[in-house]
């Protein structure tokens, strides 16, 4: 198994050189970019901070970047950090009172659900600037422009691969940190965690900030890649639900879980798009909702969670066998 990892890594360098269609490469890029967003969600979601508000962070990241570019000609190199700052500020404004007032569990999910709709409706309402529900397109320049962050698919693949890897690195760092144990302790027993000396609010805001910042970053890149953003696909409850679905179905306690979730989600999304076309607009969200419920009931650890548990069991059996014999 160990020998498989470098092979897998090498395989990731191949797609742009393979004789695959533009469409297939497009799907792979989308999977990588969304996998980054889903990974970012699990950085807080795995500790019981189930946010339905990540559509808000995604929307803020993408719209701040695109609006500054279109209206002020500000390069995304400055626009993206500003979008991230705005998303983090909103995350803190929501996260701080939630933590102090002990808004947890379902109530936290509801508060964040409201947040994501506020952001979506604000984008829709501010029609003159944002294009409203018709969405907007970043002003295009000839491709391979570093200043405008507009590339061909070939270049985008490397960008997407890079941020995806960045997401895994951050996930891994958080997984190995004191913050992870502290957040697990908080999820087990918040009062006891405070009593032994854990600054509960600080730890929660730490993971919330990292998660929101990375999500906004991912959103901005997706907007730049697609060259079209829309309040319904980049903000609001629909995309929030999609993020939660992907993270949970893939498995939020395993590093590659959200990536597996992204493959499932993006492929499913494309399949549904072809199946339904422009009819039955709400069908996709309904199907995500139903599948989410099915996963939560039958496979709460997600696909990767189940695989890892199986592998552990097999290893334990293999280790016990020689001892018994």
């Amino acid at each position: 198994m160990k020998a498989g990892w470098p092979l897998l890594g090498a395989a990731l360098l191949l797609p742009p050189f393979l004789p695959i269609s533009d469409y297939t490469l497009h799907i792979i890029i989308l999977v990588l970019l969304w996998a980054f967003v889903y990974t970012s969600w699990t950085i807080m979601g795995r500790f019981g901070l189930v946010s339905l508000g990540h559509g808000a962070f995604l929307g803020l990241g993408t719209y701040v970047t695109a609006l500054l570019w279109n209206h002020y000609g500000l390069t995304p190199w400055a626009g993206i950090p500003l979008g991230v700052v705005v998303a983090v500020a909103v995350a803190l404004v929501i996260g701080y009172p939630c933590s102090r007032l002990k808004v947890v569990g379902h109530y936290f999910a509801l508060v964040t659900l409201a947040l994501t709709e506020v952001v979506r409706l604000s984008i829709v309402a501010w029609r003159d600037v944002t294009g409203g529900s018709l969405g907007m397109t970043p002003n295009a320049v000839p491709p391979e422009s570093i200043v405008a962050l507009q590339f061909t698919k070939f270049t985008w693949y490397w960008v997407a691969l890079g941020v995806w890897a960045l997401g895994l690195v951050v996930w891994h760092r958080v997984d190995r940190s004191m913050t992870r144990s502290a957040m697990d302790a908080i999820a087990d027993d918040e009062t006891a965690a405070a009593a032994v000396g854990i600054n509960v609010t600080l730890q929660k805001l730490l993971v919330t900030t990292v998660s929101a910042a990375l999500t906004a970053f991912g959103g901005a890149l997706i907007g730049q890649y697609q060259m079209y953003i829309n309040p319904d696909t980049m903000a609001g409850v629909g995309v929030s639900l999609q993020i939660v679905f992907a993270a949970i179905s893939g498995g939020m306690y395993v590093i590659l879980g959200p990536t597996v979730g992204a493959i499932l989600t993006i492929v499913l999304q494309e399949f549904l798009r072809v199946l339904f076309g422009t009819r039955c607009i709400g069908a996709a969200a309904t199907i995500y909702g139903i599948m989410l419920i099915v996963f939560i009931i039958f496979m709460p650890a997600g696909i990767c969670g189940v695989i890892v548990a199986r592998m552990r069991k097999r290893r334990a059996v293999a280790a016990a066998a020689p001892a018994a014999g």
Binding site: M178, S181, A185, D188, A194, V196, G197
Partner: protein, 234 residues
């Protein structure tokens, strides 16, 4: 070391403590005893910063403790072994102990303190990788005490360490408390098990319906006819 005067505290409109006053001097072991619902746990929660007092003075080593958040109180040197142990059941024993040394000042000393706690409680070393929630009640209490000791506190608060344990295990837990005392820790312990706790502390306060009714040396209280009748069953 710890001085409390005129303490009033409660939950919402309900007042659980009325003008409580008590002191703990360095090196002492002091007990607060009393029946269920007397306000003993409330008192512990106020001292460790989990519950804000309504009025009164609370000072530790001369510094005011009111409105200091719980994690800062741990940093000042007060560790709390909460009622019912309150371990983190899905963390391993060692991770639970690690959480006890979470304060930035404690982190560099993690390894040495872990060794020290393991030498105090060798059983914890055997169980280091086990999930805390899967241990027996007595072992969990040991782990909870170990977790509190990881911050090397000046004052150790213990809330009902004998609660919910079998009599044999209760004896073991009180032995543990005795050993903690011998290590030189100052201990404030809250107990319903009056008979046994008076055997191991220097002084005690009797808390009833939120008010201190009596106080004195453990020997004096053991000899007090009213205490003997109400708590010792003699």
């Amino acid at each position: 070391m710890l001085e409390i005067a005129g303490l009033e505290a409660g939950y919402g409109g309900f007042r659980a403590l009325h003008g409580v006053a008590l002191t703990v001097r360095a090196g002492e072991a002091v007990a607060v005893v009393g029946p269920n619902g007397a306000g003993k746990t409330t008192l512990m929660r106020v001292i460790s910063g989990l519950l804000a007092p309504v009025a009164g003075r609370l000072a530790f080593e001369g510094a005011d403790l009111a409105a200091v958040p719980p994690h800062r109180i741990v940093e000042r040197g007060i560790a709390h072994v909460p009622e019912n142990r309150r371990l983190f059941p899905r963390l391993s024993v060692e991770e639970n102990l690690r959480m006890g040394a979470f304060a930035p000042a404690s982190r560099p000393h993690f390894t040495e303190r872990l060794e020290w706690v393991y030498s105090l409680f060798p059983r914890m070393r055997e169980r280091r990788a086990q999930l805390a929630g899967t241990m027996s009640g007595g072992e969990q209490q040991m782990c909870a005490i170990g977790r509190a000791l990881m911050s090397k506190p000046k004052l150790l608060l213990m809330d009902e360490p004998s609660a919910g344990l079998a009599p044999v295990i209760v004896d073991q837990v009180f032995d543990l408390v005795r050993r903690i005392r011998q290590e030189g820790f100052t201990v404030l312990i809250v107990e319903q098990n009056v008979r046994q706790v008076l055997e191991l502390v220097d002084r005690a306060y009797v808390l009833e319906v939120g008010t201190i009714r009596r106080s004195g040396s453990a020997a004096a209280l053991q000899a007090d006819p009213a205490i003997r009748e109400a708590y010792l069953g003699i």
